[in-house]
C-alpha cells in the first residue's frame, strides 16, 4: 500500500513539474510604477511566484521606464505599467494596483488577461459601513465621470442594506466645489480609488473638510487610514500578490482569467484616535473583519 502511494505521489509530482516546466518557458515580467508601494508589490509578487515554482531566472522586475523582454507574460503594477501591456499578441497579462475608475475610463482592455482592481467589492464596503457605523445611513462618494454609470448601477446594493448612496461626478478641478455640495447631505464619505479625486494634494482637503463637519471617511488604503480616515478596507501587498500570483499561474496553465477581478482577501483598518475625536465608538478591526467574513 505504501509503495503504491509513493508511486502515485511520484507520478503526481512529475506531472506538476512538467506543467510548471512547460509554463516556465514563458518568462514573467513584473513591470512596476515609480514609488515604494508599487516596488513593494512587485517584490512580494516575484517571491510569491518563485514559491509557486516559477524559476527565479524567468522572473524579471522592470521599471515602467525600462524596455520589456519579448513575448513575456506581463504583470503590470500600477496604471503606468498597464500601458506597457501589448494591446494584443501577449501570451497573457495581469494588472494590479489599478483603480476600477481607470479601467472604466479605458476604451478596452488588452486581450488575454485581467486586471485585479484596487477597489474592494462595493458589497463588502457597504457591509463594513453598516456594521462599523450603525446609525449613519447617507453614504456620499465622489467619482470620475467614467465611473458614474457603474457606481449608480450599484445603488441597489446600498438600498438592500438600508443605506442611501449618493455619487457625484467630479474632476480634479471641480472636486472642492462638488465636495462642498456633497458633504452636507452625507454622514459618511466613501473614498474610492481614483487618482483624479484622491491624491496627496486633495486628500488634506477631503479629510479636513469632512472632519470639520464630523463626517467619517471610509477609505481604500492603509495610507489613507493613516492620513485620517476612520476606517479602511483594503488588501495588503501580500494579499494582493497572492491573488495576482494565482492569476499568473492560471495563465501558465493556459487558463487565463479575463476582464476585471475584485480582491478576495482583505483587511480592515481602524483609526480609533480619529474616531474618538469625532465621538464615534468603533468595534475593533479584528471584530469587523470577522463579521465581514
Amino acid at each position: 500500500m505504501s509503495s503504491l502511494f509513493r508511486l502515485l505521489l511520484l507520478c503526481f509530482l512529475t506531472l506538476c513539474g512538467q506543467v510548471l516546466a512547460a509554463g516556465a518557458l514563458q518568462p514573467v515580467s513584473i513591470v512596476y510604477d515609480e514609488g515604494n508601494v508599487a516596488w513593494e508589490h512587485a517584490n512580494i509578487l516575484g517571491k510569491e511566484l518563485e514559491a509557486r515554482g516559477v524559476p527565479a531566472g524567468e522572473i524579471e522586475l522592470v521599471r515602467t521606464s525600462e524596455p520589456l523582454q519579448k513575448r513575456s507574460i506581463v504583470v503590470a503594477v500600477g496604471l503606468g505599467a498597464m500601458k506597457k501591456v501589448p494591446a494584443g499578441g501577449s501570451p497573457g497579462w495581469v494588472g494590479l494596483m489599478v483603480p476600477r475608475a481607470s479601467v472604466e475610463a479605458m476604451s478596452e482592455l488588452p486581450e488575454n488577461g485581467a486586471v485585479l482592481v484596487m477597489d474592494q467589492p462595493l458589497r463588502r464596503i457597504l457591509d463594513l459601513v453598516k456594521i462599523g457605523l450603525p446609525g449613519r445611513s447617507r453614504v456620499g462618494a465622489l467619482a470620475s465621470s467614467s465611473s458614474i454609470p457603474w457606481l449608480r448601477q450599484q445603488k441597489r446594493l446600498a438600498a438592500e442594506r438600508g443605506l442611501e448612496f449618493s455619487v457625484e461626478a467630479a474632476t480634479a478641478e471641480t472636486m472642492p466645489k462638488v465636495l462642498d455640495g456633497l458633504l452636507p447631505y452625507s454622514d459618511i464619505l466613501l473614498a474610492l480609488p481614483d487618482s483624479a479625486i484622491h491624491n496627496r494634494n486633495t486628500v488634506p482637503l477631503i479629510l479636513l473638510a469632512s472632519y470639520r463637519l464630523g463626517i467619517p471617511v471610509v477609505a481604500y488604503s492603509e495610507s489613507y487610514l493613516n492620513a485620517g480616515a476612520i476606517l479602511a478596507l483594503y488588501s495588503t501587498p501580500a494579499q494582493t500578490s497572492r491573488q495576482a500570483a494565482t492569476m499568473v499561474m492560471d495563465i501558465l496553465r493556459g487558463k487565463p482569467t479575463l476582464g476585471i477581478v475584485e480582491p478576495v482577501e482583505f483587511k480592515v483598518g481602524v483609526n480609533d484616535r480619529v474616531a474618538r475625536s469625532l465621538g464615534i465608538s468603533l468595534p475593533s478591526a479584528a471584530e469587523l473583519e470577522a463579521k465581514l467574513r
Binding site: 508601494v37 487618482s195 494634494n201 488634506p204 479636513l208 470639520r212 493613516n226 492620513a227 484616535r273 465621538g279
Partner: protein
C-alpha cells in the same frame, strides 16, 4: 471721532488677487504615500472624553453669530463674560475678577501664545484674524497650567486657523453699517505639489461707543504656508502683522489739561512669526519643533499739566517675545498614550515711562511637561499631567492636573479631577518704576515695585459628567467646581504685592442639540460664586463675578438657501475690581439673516446682522462714563468666493 481712510489696504488687495491667478497642481497617483492629515496636533479635543471641560465652537457657528471679531464668540462658552471698557478693547473674564487686561486666560493661535508680556493679558482687538480665518475655537474651562503653562489660570482659548487646503482660491468679505462699522477681508490661496499658501489682508473699524472717544481702525495681513514634503514631514510658516489706530480718554475731560485721560490718539503695531516642522508617522506618533517670535510697539502720547508745567508724557512700550518649543506624542499601546515636551522662551520689554530706563528688561523661561492618558481598566481612564517651569522672574514652580474618568455606559462619561495653576505677574508689576518727574526735586510716583511680587496660585477640584445621545443628536456636559485662589496681586501704596485670597465655586452646563437636520441649538449656562477672603469694602471679589450667565444660540436653515440665527446672552450684575465699575444685569439679542447665492463659478452670502435687537445694553461703567450699546446696531455682510 472718525479716522481717515488708508490706502495700503487696496495695494494688498491687488497682491492677493494676483496670488489667486496661479492654478493648483493636481493629478497624482493613488500609489502615492499620503500625508498624515489628522495628526494629534490637528485633532480637536473631544468634549466627551477630554480630561477637562472643553467647549468647541466651529466655523459655521462663528459666522452665524454675526461676530465681527473672535472675542465676541467666546460669549457662547459657559461662564465667559465679554465686556468692552473701550469700543475696541474687550476684557474677557471667566470667573469674575474683572479687570482691563483679563489676565486670567491663556490665548493661543495655532499653538503660539498671544499673551502680552508687558501687561499680561491679551489685546483681542489686535488679533490679526477675521472670523473667516478660523477653523474652530476650543476653550478649556478651568485651570490647565499642567499642559499650557502658567497663565492658563481660569482657562485656555485655543484658536485654530483654517488649513490653506480647505480654503477657496479667493474670498472677499465686507461689512458695513451703524456705528461706522466698516470691515473688509480679502483672502487668496494657492496649492502646489508641496506648498499650500494662504494670504489674507483685512481691516476692521468702527466709531466705538457714543459716550467715549474710542474710534479705532485695525489693519491686518497674514501669510501662511504649509509644506508637505512626504508622508511624514511637514513645515508650517505663519507671519502676521497688524497696525492699530485708536482713540482713548474721556470726553468730559477734554479741557482738563491736568488729565492724561483727555481724548487723544494711540497707535500700536504687532507682528508675529511662527515656523513649525512636524513629523507625523501616524495619528498617535508625532513630534514637532517650532520657533516663534512676536513684537508689539505701542504709542500713547499726551501733554499733562503739573502745576505750572505742561509736561510731555507717554505710555509707549515695546515688547518682544521669542521661543523654541518641541513636543512629542506617542502611543505605547492601545491603552497608554503620552505627550511630553519642553520650551524655552525669552521676553523683553522696554518703556521709559514705566521703567525709567531705555534698556530692555529681559526675562526667560524654561519648562517641561508630560501628559499621560492611561486606560487602566475597560471603563476607566487616568489623565495625569505635570509641568515644571523655571522663570527668571519668579523662580521654579510646578503645576499638575489629575483626572479620572469613568464611562460605565458608552457615551456617558463621569470625571473627577484636581488641578493647580499659577499666574505669573506681568513684567510691569515686577519691575515697575513708574513715576512722573515734575521738577528735579518733585517726583509723583504711580507704581514703584519692590520686586517682591510673585505668582498667584489656584487649586481647583471638579466633578463633571459629559454625555452624548447620537440618535438624538444631543450632546453636552455639566461640571461643578470649587477653587481656592491665593496671592492675588493688588497695590499697597506704590508697590504691588500678593495679598488677597478668594474661594470660588459654581457649575456650568453646555448643551448642543440638532433636533432636525436644519436646526442647531446651543445652550450655555453657568453659576459662579466668589467668596472674598478680604474685606469686601476693601476689594469686592465677591461682586466681580456675575452669579448667572446664560447663552442660547439658535441656527436655522431655511428653504431657498436662507439661514437665520439668533443668539441671546443673559449676564447677571457684576462690579469690576475698581470702584464704581458696576454693570447691572443685562440681556442682549443678536440676530442674523443670511442668503447664500451662486453666480456661475462664484458663490457668496449676503447677511443682515442686528446686534442688541431688544434694548440698549449697558456694557461697562467706568467712573461717570457708561458704555452703552444703543438698541439695534445693524450692519450688512457680503462674502464672495470661488
Amino acid at each position: 471721532m472718525k479716522l481717515p481712510n488708508y490706502s495700503k489696504f487696496s495695494l494688498a488687495m491687488i497682491w492677493i488677487s494676483s496670488l489667486t491667478l496661479a492654478q493648483p497642481v493636481l493629478g497624482q497617483s493613488e500609489l502615492d504615500e499620503l500625508p498624515v492629515v489628522l495628526s494629534a496636533s490637528r485633532l480637536k479635543q473631544s468634549p466627551l472624553r477630554a480630561p477637562a471641560g472643553v467647549t468647541v465652537i466651529d466655523r459655521e457657528t462663528i459666522i452665524a453669530t454675526g461676530a465681527r471679531q473672535i472675542v465676541d464668540v467666546l460669549r457662547l462658552v459657559p461662564g465667559v463674560v465679554v465686556q468692552y471698557p473701550r469700543g475696541y478693547w474687550a476684557a474677557v473674564g471667566m470667573r469674575g475678577f474683572g479687570e482691563f487686561f483679563g489676565r486670567n486666560l491663556q490665548v493661543l493661535i495655532d499653538g503660539v501664545s498671544v499673551y502680552n508680556p508687558m501687561w499680561s493679558g491679551v489685546d483681542w482687538s489686535e488679533i490679526p484674524l477675521s472670523p473667516y480665518d478660523i477653523e474652530r475655537i476650543e476653550v478649556i474651562r478651568g485651570p490647565n497650567a499642567a499642559t499650557y503653562g502658567a497663565n492658563a489660570f481660569f482657562g485656555v482659548v485655543n484658536i485654530i486657523t483654517r488649513d490653506p487646503s480647505t480654503e477657496p482660491a479667493f474670498q472677499a468679505t465686507i461689512a458695513s453699517g451703524d456705528r461706522g462699522i466698516l470691515d473688509g477681508n480679502l483672502r487668496g490661496s494657492i496649492k502646489g505639489d508641496i506648498w499650500r499658501w494662504r494670504a489674507s489682508v483685512g481691516r476692521r473699524s468702527d466709531d466705538g461707543f457714543d459716550e467715549r472717544p474710542d474710534s479705532h481702525r485695525l489693519e491686518f495681513a497674514s501669510l501662511r504656508g504649509d509644506a508637505q514634503f512626504n508622508g511624514q514631514d511637514s513645515l508650517l510658516f505663519n507671519f502676521s502683522m497688524t497696525e492699530k489706530d485708536a482713540q482713548d480718554g474721556f470726553y468730559h475731560l477734554a479741557n482738563d489739561l491736568t488729565s492724561s485721560q483727555r481724548p487723544h490718539d494711540t497707535a500700536s503695531h504687532t507682528w508675529t512669526l511662527q515656523t513649525r516642522w512636524a513629523r507625523a508617522e501616524s495619528v498617535d506618533d508625532e513630534w514637532w519643533v517650532q520657533y516663534y517670535a512676536r513684537q508689539t510697539s505701542a504709542w500713547d502720547h499726551i501733554d499733562v499739566k503739573f502745576g505750572p508745567f505742561l509736561l510731555p508724557t507717554d505710555s509707549d512700550y515695546d515688547s518682544r517675545r521669542q521661543g523654541v518649543e518641541a513636543q512629542q506624542t506617542h502611543r505605547f499601546n492601545p491603552d497608554l498614550r503620552a505627550a511630553w515636551g519642553g520650551e524655552w522662551r525669552e521676553d523683553n520689554v522696554r518703556s521709559y515711562n514705566y521703567f525709567h530706563t531705555m534698556d530692555w528688561i529681559k526675562t526667560h523661561l524654561w519648562r517641561g511637561f508630560g501628559n499621560v492618558e492611561w486606560k487602566f481598566a475597560p471603563e476607566w481612564t487616568l489623565h495625569p499631567s505635570v509641568m515644571i517651569e523655571d522663570n527668571s522672574m519668579t523662580g521654579r514652580s510646578s503645576a499638575s492636573r489629575w483626572a479620572v474618568s469613568w464611562e460605565p455606559i458608552q457615551n456617558h462619561v463621569f470625571r473627577i479631577g484636581t488641578a493647580n495653576s499659577r499666574l505669573t505677574p506681568p513684567i510691569l508689576h515686577k519691575y515697575a518704576n513708574w513715576y512722573y518727574q515734575i521738577t528735579p526735586a518733585v517726583k509723583v510716583p504711580v507704581y514703584i515695585s519692590s520686586g517682591l511680587v510673585g505668582d498667584a496660585a489656584i487649586r481647583s477640584n471638579e466633578i463633571a459628567y459629559a454625555f452624548e445621545f447620537p440618535s438624538l443628536h444631543l450632546s453636552g456636559d455639566m461640571r461643578w467646581f470649587k477653587e481656592r485662589v491665593t496671592g492675588l496681586v493688588r497695590a499697597k501704596g506704590t508697590d504691588l504685592v500678593n495679598s488677597d485670597d478668594a474661594n470660588t465655586r459654581g457649575g456650568d452646563l453646555s448643551l448642543n442639540w440638532r433636533p432636525w437636520e436644519s436646526t442647531h441649538l446651543r445652550l450655555a449656562v453657568a453659576r459662579t460664586i466668589v467668596d472674598s477672603l478680604v474685606d469686601p469694602a476693601d476689594r469686592n471679589y465677591g461682586a466681580s463675578a456675575p452669579k448667572h450667565t446664560a447663552t442660547l444660540h439658535w441656527r436655522q436653515q431655511l428653504p431657498g438657501n436662507y439661514e437665520f440665527s439668533a443668539t441671546h446672552y443673559r449676564v447677571g450684575p457684576s462690579t469690576w475690581l475698581e470702584p464704581d465699575q458696576t454693570v447691572p444685569a443685562y440681556g442682549r439679542l443678536d440676530l442674523r439673516l443670511a442668503k447664500k447665492f451662486s453666480l456661475g463659478r462664484e458663490r457668496g452670502e449676503v447677511a443682515l446682522v442686528t446686534q442688541n435687537a431688544n434694548s440698549p445694553t449697558l456694557d461697562f461703567k467706568e467712573k461717570a462714563v457708561v458704555n452703552t450699546y444703543q438698541r439695534r446696531t445693524t450692519f450688512l455682510q457680503l462674502s464672495v468666493e470661488y
